[in-house]
Amino acid sequence: MNKVNALLECSNLTKNYGKSQAVHNLDIKLEEDTIYGLLGRNGAGKTTLLNMITGGVFPSGGKIQIAGQLLKKGETPQDICYIREKNLYLGNAKVIEILEHASAFHKNWDWSFANELIKTFRLNPQKKIRQLSRGMESLVGNIIGLASRAPLTIYDEPVLGLDVVMREKFYRVLVEDYANHPRTILLSTHLIDEIAMVVERVFIMDSGSILLHDDVDNIRLKSHLLTGNKEAVEEFTKNRQVFYKESYGKGSLSALYDTINETDRRQANKLDISIEGLPLQKFFSYVIEGGQPVE
């Protein structure tokens, strides 16, 4: 499938709160029919970015384009379903009433799928929102996000309060539905390893900037952890992109973002350097620790 059309494009996006800069000079582009992961520590600026994209907060600078249309101040973009981390559902409303209200604002809403999801996630549609646990509230949001079938669906911490069984169930349903109804989905989370099997591309964000954006497959292919003698590791990594370094005695540990071919592996072997692949969670930690943009 051709994925060249930008559904959302932000350029030079900045958000200041008084003197502190929550997001600065950020560029991000989301293409059609792709699942993205937005990863970052608490306070990295993820929610501020999502709030700006969805028109909830106004940028201090830069521009946001959705499907080629400039998002003006005060405009709320249509065809976006944004499931916030902090839901604001009416406490005295029933689950089914919340779904009914949400369905009114999403033109692609699929009621048969919503009813199926209620059963899958074992939610009681007659239960009042205030009687739900935090995990169940997350599920209500997740059902809205899935059943809305919006061209751009954004989840901010969608598995908050969910146990591992429900988390896996949610990811499975999401991927299955995405396969049948491709659309753009952006998952913002700090549970990185869990979404590694779900997302196709990731953005790693820290201190209001994007440190890295790449395909998950590419990250798996290019992220390596080298351990060995300090001088040997330095020689091997010369002219390569090292995004994290740590020394211990005469030894050294370096995280490398580059393709390593058979010749490189033979050279590393000669230098007595061990090369391991990096799990996404570890890769994320090293990128954040390094604090430098990774190209």
Binding site: N51, G55, G56, V57, F58, K73, G74, E75, T76, P77, Q78, C81, Y82, R84, N87, L88, Y89, L90, N92, A93, E97, I98, E100, H101, A102, A104, F105, H106, I144, S148, A150
Partner: protein
């Protein structure tokens, strides 16, 4: 409409409870005093107080909840305008029906105060009473909508402070009191239905435009 009803449900129950208690206590007092000696405020007028909750709750917390469910600001604003209009029409009809009940039945036993008499809207007949009330209720709702939509905006805060400062000034200085009285007379006690209704509609439209201006500048955090 349903979502707004859910949001307002608690306030509606409270007001219905208060009106119910008021009617009950008035009946008890009237019976014990032998009737006629206990002038009452019209029950329908009391229920009209619900407008204050509608005009403050909907542009307040209901805004965030609705946008959270996927509405755009435009959809939200159009929705609350429809809700304002429907409530104004409903309360105008209720007050007319209750007024007729008072004139033809209740006042045989008790004296009642009704805003349709107080503002002399009853002089315009049923259609006139309806039109004048809808205009006046929309004016109140649009003012509250403006105030609560702009509650977090610097200009909105200035409007709040100005109102808080100007009301006591205009009511305490006699020359200004005259101006205030003239304004209220032109708006609410106008002998010309067309003038009175026209003025309330024009001002309500200005307030609603201001409310929309604030709505487009409201953030969700």
């Amino acid at each position: 409409m349903r979502a707004s009803f859910l949001q307002l449900r608690i306030y509606l129950w409270i007001i219905l409870g208060v009106v119910g208690l008021s009617i009950l206590s008035n009946i008890i007092v009237s019976i014990s005093m032998g009737g006629g000696g206990n002038p009452q405020v019209s029950a329908a007028n009391l229920f009209t107080v619900v407008l204050i909750f509608i005009g403050s709750v909907l542009p307040g917390s209901f805004f965030k909840r609705t946008i959270n469910l996927g509405a755009t600001r435009k959809e939200f604003y159009k929705g609350i305008l429809v809700v304002y209009m429907l409530w104004s029409v409903f309360l105008a009809v209720l007050n007319i029906l209750w007024f007729e009940l008072e004139v033809h039945f209740i006042r045989n036993y008790e004296h009642t105060f009704n805003i349709l008499d107080v503002f002399q809207w009853s002089q315009f007949g049923i259609v006139g009473m309806f039109v004048y009330q809808v205009g006046a209720y929309m004016l109140l709702l649009s003012l509250l909508n403006l105030l609560f939509s702009g509650i977090r905006h610097i200009l909105g805060i200035i409007i709040w402070i100005s109102l808080i400062v100007l009301i006591p000034i205009f009511t305490s200085i006699s020359s200004l009191r005259g101006i205030l009285a003239d304004g209220l007379l032109a708006l609410l006690f106008n002998d010309s239905l067309l003038q009175g209704f026209g003025l309330t509609v024009v001002i309500a439209c200005l307030f609603l435009a201001g409310g929309w201006w604030f709505t487009t500048r409201r953030s969700l955090v």
